[in-house]
């Protein structure tokens, strides 16, 4: 049994991919965001921001501040107030962090890699027709899918798991034995409940368009033509782009509210109650902070996957850049039908280059969306608690519901049931 495990099996194993995704991509990006947020907000306000942390002459515009911050938080006194519930107090930061890291399992963060094609020499192309006809051919076996879980209920899984992150805040507020922390925890719960509904419902038009909840399949179906990406996926229908762009705005708003950052930082409420982590210090507090930034990265990843074509690069197919071409249906030896674009003018690229392009494209999309979230956070003033509830229940929820109804109706009329 053991002998039959090859290096490809290990590389394609979920644990390996999760470790790579979290340790090599998500954590560094989230840590960098702690610096980027301060630097970006400074630039938006004609200030300079942190730019002095250095190791000897290496300054990197102050990027090393995140190292300094981490060191500071690790070496700070690990203070636990006298009357807290010790177990829950310790558990809460982990409860806030873990669900977000688990939720990353559903994100397709790159294309499928065919190692044997690479082994033939890095200049080898992947023939899309051959791939579609026989995915089990010797060239294409042992493929590494850059997604940890391909489960049919992928996005539902994300909603379910990210809800658990809320327990971190609530339990922190309760375990802290502090009125303000408890208020923050309660606010966090109420906000989560209000916006989760709108967040889930606002994605429905996209599901109606693609007929799947599996993020990997969503990205495959969006294809390399930006016109088919989630944001514009209904654009062939009259007024269709309105529904998907509306869905994007609703989802993005609700998702920013889920990250509990300004303008939705009611649970934290710096000017009033400081929030559910008021009794936390040092690295325990740092974990809450990091979890918030990881949520920012995660929201960006979801938005990129659902609305912006995931890892797809405009006009880059598996064998290179293709302009024009025709969609043909190919039945593989298993009987599954695949849509493959053939013909057109093509600029062939080796498999390695295609993989790197697409992997980089996903990273770029995520970074840009993170950047945009930071820009929103530093532009808009925060809501009052009642305004927040009003926006969630009276505006986002009805709009999301209406969007589903109209989208479903349009689909029924123009595409048939």
């Amino acid at each position: 049994m053991l002998a039959s495990i090859s290096i490809w099996d290990i590389l394609d194993w979920g644990g390996t991919k999760w470790l790579f995704l979290v340790l090599a991509l998500v954590m560094p990006l989230a840590s960098l965001l702690t610096w980027a947020e301060r630097r970006q907000s400074a630039m938006m306000q004609d200030r300079l921001g942190p730019n002095r942390a250095n190791i000897g002459p290496i300054k990197l515009k102050g990027i090393l501040h995140f190292v300094a911050d981490a060191l500071k938080m690790i070496f700070k006194e690990d203070f636990v107030p006298a009357n807290v519930h010790k177990g829950l107090f310790t558990l809460a930061p982990l409860l806030a962090l873990a669900p977000v890291l688990i939720a990353f399992c559903i994100i397709p963060f790159g294309p499928t890699i065919y190692p044997h094609v690479l082994a033939h020499g890095i200049a080898t192309h992947v023939d899309p027709l051959a791939l579609a006809q026989n995915p089990a051919a010797p060239d294409f076996i042992d493929s590494i899918r850059l997604q940890i879980f391909s489960i049919d209920y992928g996005l539902i899984f994300y909603f379910a798991v990210l809800t658990l992150a809320n327990y971190g805040g609530t339990i922190a507020g309760w375990a802290s034995y502090n009125k303000w922390a408890l208020l923050g925890g309660l606010r966090s719960s109420s906000q989560m409940m209000s916006y989760e509904v709108a967040m889930g419902l606002s994605l429905m038009p996209i599901f109606l368009a693609f007929g799947t909840l599996e993020p990997g399949a969503l990205v495959d179906m969006q294809g390399s033509n930006p016109v088919n990406w989630g944001l514009l996926s209904w654009s062939a229908l009259p007024g269709g782009a309105l529904f998907t762009i509306g869905a994007f705005l609703l989802f993005f708003t609700a998702a920013i509210a889920e990250t509990k950052r300004a303008p939705f930082d009611i649970p934290e409420g710096e000017p009033e109650i400081i929030g559910y982590f008021v009794e936390y210090s040092g690295m325990r507090w740092g974990i809450f902070f990091l979890a918030e930034f990881i949520e920012v990265v995660f929201i960006s990843a979801v938005v990129a996957t659902v609305f912006f074509g995931g890892w797809q690069v405009p006009f880059l197919d598996v064998d290179g850049f293709r302009f024009g071409g025709e969609l043909t249906q190919v039945t593989d030896i298993m009987g599954h039908v695949h849509n493959v674009t053939v013909g057109g003018s093509i600029l062939p690229l080796p498999h390695l280059a295609v993989v790197l392009f697409q992997f980089g494209a996903f990273g770029l999309k995520v970074v840009l969306l993170c950047w945009f979230q930071l820009a929103v956070r530093w532009t808009l003033p925060r809501f009052r608690a009642d305004q927040l509830m009003k926006l969630g229940w009276k505006l986002l929820l009805p709009l999301a519901l209406a969007n589903i109804m109209i989208t479903a109706l349009v689909k029924l009329i123009f595409m048939g049931a």
Partner: protein, 231 residues
């Protein structure tokens, strides 16, 4: 703020709430209260306002992000100030860049010297009397100079208590104490180190051009008039 900054930060003339009523207070004509019509939250168009706000902040971001990539000449053409960071950021990078203090900046005290190098102070006790923070300690002793009765044996100022008001300089009748060094109080590790002594303040001192000891030119053109109503 530089001139290049101002053009898009100005509020448009038409913006702002509509004034419903103006009431002039009985306290004076300059004190007025306005009753304004503010849009109710459900009337306000958040989406447009948010987009507008994002436009402003992103414009600033883009300028500060891309300006350092331009050449020095291009930056000068755009009217950007010359700073280390190379953009329109107003932050002064303190240890590397320093702003010059204004001429009347009140810095650390110093004690002025007479022509012969002795301290000008005659220990008249005007400055410890006027000092609102009671931070000046003077212990006088007899002076051996001709025509001068006293001089300070001890002259100490506790810079931690000093409120830098400058009243001691105003009160001094003989230009013996000044705050024109342009140096601000340095951080110390021990409270005692923050006390300026006669020696340390004399070390910063210079010779004053003012005359001392009643030998100066008279400024009176007429004989002094005796006070008319003595009680």
């Amino acid at each position: 703020m530089s001139a290049a900054h101002d053009h898009h930060d100005e509020a448009p003339k038409t913006a702002g709430p509509v004034v419903l009523a103006t009431h002039t207070s009985s306290a004076g004509k300059t004190v007025r209260s306005l009753r304004v019509a503010r849009p109710e939250p459900h009337d306000a168009n958040f989406l447009v306002a948010a987009a507008k706000g994002l436009g402003i902040t992103l414009k600033h971001f883009a300028k500060n992000f891309f300006l350092p990539m331009r050449s020095k000449e291009a930056r000068a053409k755009l009217g950007a100030p010359e700073s280390i960071s190379g953009n329109e950021i107003e932050t002064v990078q303190y240890p590397d860049e320093k702003v010059t203090y204004p001429e009347r900046f009140r810095g650390l005290h110093r004690l002025m010297l007479r022509d012969d190098g002795a301290v000008r102070c005659v220990a008249c006790m005007c400055c410890p009397t006027v000092c609102p923070a009671h931070c000046i300690t003077i212990i006088p002793e007899e002076s051996d100079s001709k025509g001068i009765e006293k001089r300070p044996a001890v002259f100490e100022i506790d810079e931690l208590r000093c409120v830098v008001c400058g009243l001691c300089v105003e009160a001094c009748p003989c230009d013996a104490i000044r705050m024109d060094t342009g140096v601000h109080a340095t951080p110390v590790e021990d409270r005692g180190d923050a006390i300026e002594t006669k020696e340390s303040m004399l070390a910063r001192g210079i010779k004053s051009v003012a005359k001392q000891g009643g030998e100066g030119p008279t400024w009176r053109t007429t004989a002094p008039v005796p006070p008319s109503d003595k009680r």
